[in-house]
Amino acid sequence: MIASQKPSFEGGLGRVNDSRFSVAIRTTGLLVLVVAGLLWSQASPPVRTLLASGGALGGLLALTGSSKRAASYWLLTLLAVILFAPFAWMVLVSLHPPKTPIPPLAEIIPQKPAWDNVKQVLFSPTLPVSRFFFNTVVVTISVVVLQLLITSMAAYSLSRLKWRGREVVFWLFIGSMMFAGPVTQIPVYLMLRNLGWLDTYAALIVPGISSAFSVFLLRQFYLQIPFELDEAARIDGASDWKIYSRVILPLGKPALATAGAFTFFAVWTDFFGPMIYTNSTEMRTLEVGLSIFKNSYGTTNWPLQMTAALIVLAPLLIVFLFVQRFFVKGLMLGSIK
């Protein structure tokens, strides 16, 4: 990812020659960890929760000591725990048998994991969740592919070709990115209704096939590609289309991956659009379907609700882990004006 260039704090992970105080801290941490481990087998579940957190704490102390660096680890771990506790809880609750009430934290680890909750949700008799999944896949893939094609062409033109009015067009894209928001919702809805597109795939796909943000992001990338490449290709007699498809597109693969990932996340989790553009259950996407799921089960069936949430999240996580290394660079470019 990113190489840190700033001078780092002193002290080191696993370094032993700290101050005496720090050695004492480390030793205490190690002791706590060992004691927690020894007591584990005899403890009742609520005490185990305490032991686990105490042990983790001790382990962290033993590893990091009390330097500034340790303080950084402390803060990072604390924040990571706060952000990830709900997710961990989600995974554990989703493995409880359906319809069990919210388990107290002491009994959060399921006795017998209910693996077939996933099957129960996907093939639920009351809601066509597998259909939601199918719709979401169709819509997301169509939007990502079409949007990458359309916006990369626009970005190519806005970054590497010169023509009258280019700046005006560019600023219209930027302006719409900042201000379009809620003001376009009603007119777009009315337009789709007049076209008779409500409750069809067209309504879910067409409004998303271009995005000012993607145009902007790809343009920023394309500005970084050396312009000598176009010149060379042009001297060899290549047309604009050839340069776009043979030079810029292949060189800009990381750019496409980043823009594609952003679009994937945005479309997969879009809530407002699918909610107002569709009304039959068969045309819902996962995100909207899941909110029906939430409303119909209310707070009475947390395990199945959490399973459903996992079904939505899993593809996002998989895609994220694949494109992660391009992603950081992409976001950075998005901020350069």
Binding site: K6, M153, F272, S335
Partner: protein, 297 residues
Amino acid sequence: MSSTATRRSRFGPLFVAPAFIHLLVFALVPIAYAGYLSLFKLHLIRGQMHFVGLTNYGYTFGDASFWNAMWNSARYALMSVPLGMALGLGVALLVNQKLKGVTIFRTIFYIPSIASGIALSMLWIYVFLPKTGMINTALGWVGITNETDFLANVHWAMLALVVMTALNGVGPKMILFLAGLLNVPPELYEAAQIDGASRPRQFWRITLPMLAPTTFFVMVTSTIAAMQVFTPVYLMTKGGPEDTTDVVGYHIYQESWVRFNTGLAAAQSFILLAVIAAIAVVQFRLQKNQLKGYSTA
């Protein structure tokens, strides 16, 4: 930002045409059309249009519930924007150090911001539950018995939304600040160290001023996003309790898709657009003055 190496080309507009037509049809024309609609009384389902001039605007300006929503959005933005920025900068500083496993933390902090709104809402509804919820359970461990239903409490509901969205949205802001930090020339720190400047002093005198463009970018984009917030409100509080979380985005949605006063909703969305544009202009002005102050440094 025009590059000298680009070539004049007749085909330039052709390449941009599909995206531009889409922009016209789905953004520019709708904005104009919303302005036109705002001059009519229009029922979303029945559909007849009556020209009413500026009546919708007049009505909105006198409508206490709309201004309550505007105030709620302002409260939300005033809390979530500074909190989100402070968190983003703080985390960026933490993960900008040479620490083992720091990329894992970067990944962890980014993940909630790609998660689906509905999944996050379901999780955080649980976090905020009165008896069994995560916060009250944790408070119970340290001996505090608390059964506040955060999302149904007039004092807590807005704060709960702010905390949840600021925490989960930390990822993109972290990355933007990280990019800003990497653009600070290391020589500045070396020079400061030779001059004997302390670390806090280096932070205030070098890091923060050098980050000004990033801070500005994050501030403008997150203010705009905050003024338009909708999904977490819709999924977690429905504007309640007692309209304390009825933000403008949710209010306009209700006006148009629940009460079917589409013309009125169009007028309100136009007022929101004007307010957002005004905030952005003010922020641009402030930024100019601020940069002037630093240009000599």
